[in-house]
């Protein structure tokens, strides 16, 4: 089956950056979750940055994997940081309802990476 979701990943010294592209909805949720888990497991990174700035569309189903991911990664001591730049669809969504259980939310990738740098790597 062809993947529905386009992805960019960057393996940086302090963090693994995953940037899903296009539309993030219920149809791609399972793939998003699997891809993110696999990436973290392979890398064993101390910090996972999910950059939602490039999403053309994202809704509550699309963001759902992040809740589970956050809970699971916390157990392993891996930090999850979500990037939602001001004016982006992700920022709009996160501004509408409180979602404080998806990890830290930062306005830019640079900001997120700063946070990762100061983190204790597992």
């Amino acid at each position: 089956m062809t993947p529905l979701l386009d992805f960019e990943t960057d393996a940086l010294p302090d963090a693994l950056v995953a940037r899903p592209l296009g539309d993030i909805d219920m149809a791609v949720t399972p793939e998003l979750e699997t891809t993110l888990y696999a990436a973290v497991r392979e890398r064993g990174s101390g910090c996972l940055v999910v950059d939602l700035g490039a999403a053309d569309y994202i809704d509550s189903s699309g963001i759902e994997p992040l809740f589970r991911l956050h809970a699971a990664l916390e157990v392993d001591g891996v930090g999850l940081i979500v990037v939602a730049p001001p004016g982006s669809n992700a920022a709009r969504l996160l501004g509408l309802v409180a979602m404080d259980d998806i990890g830290e939310v930062r306005p830019s990738l640079a900001d997120a990476l700063d946070r990762c740098g100061g983190r204790e790597l597992s």
């Binding site: 539309d23 909805d25 219920m26 149809a27 569309y57 509550s60 004016g87 969504l93 509408l96 309802v97």
Partner: protein, 312 residues
Amino acid sequence: MALVIGDVVGRGVKAASAMGQLRNAVRAYLLEGYGPAQVLARVNRLLDSLGGGFATLACLCFDVATGELRYANAGHPPPLVAMPDGTTRWLEGGLAAPLGAAREIVYRQASDRIRPDSALVLYTDGLVERRNEPIDTGLERLATAAADSPGHAATLAGRLVGAMPGTARPDDVAVLVLARREAPGEPLVVRLPAEATSLGPLRERLRRWLASADLERRAAADLLLAVGEAASNAVEHAIEPHPAAIVVTVRIAPGGPVYEVRDHGRWDGEPSAPHRGRGMQIIRALSGDVGVDRSPEGTTVTMHPGKEDRSA
């Protein structure tokens, strides 16, 4: 609105005056309220009484509000429809003999529909006919040139003429293009299977509709999100009958967009997964007035213009 295109056999003053007479006759019959097939039958009789002649003529009546098309064709090359997905089709119905081929000709009416963002192309054979080349080659070339998102009528007409090389007799070429835009204020109705993979195509339709709806970017994105949340709920809860359908209706009301998402499942906005309840919260945050109507047939969520929330 009526569109007529024709071609009189012969050249020079005689042919031009015959065309002038035909044009006036067609106009008169249309004004009398005759349909396309009746117009052609009458014009044929008139031509005979004027001493004969030979002409092809396509007569099309177009309903601007609905896009409905009724037409009949007296031996004229088939009109072409260019659709927004880049495909084309020929209007091959209602075809009978050219005017003047017999004293009495029975013309039959065909019907079709020109959907928003499509274009109707009428032309004379001068556009498609080339020496030493079967006419099908020219028709194919025309269809290929039109097979691109149609856009504005003038642009398309220019593109078509430009794409048809070697016009031997430019005075023999006529092109008439009608482009139907998504009419502002016309509701969008989308019916799709209640499956997660329908959500992408649904957004595509919404985006296209929103592009012509003159909504500001933020409001358009909000509408996409609210409808997306409601449709996701519908997909998640769709049970019977199989295959269940989601029907989304969107229209612009004086206060802003009004939308409705109807499904055949039963859901009450309560979370089924730990975080799914957020969908309904988001819908409420985006829409001033949300109605959820549950019946044995399914669930309908109606949303009215949101409060002036421009945060984030």
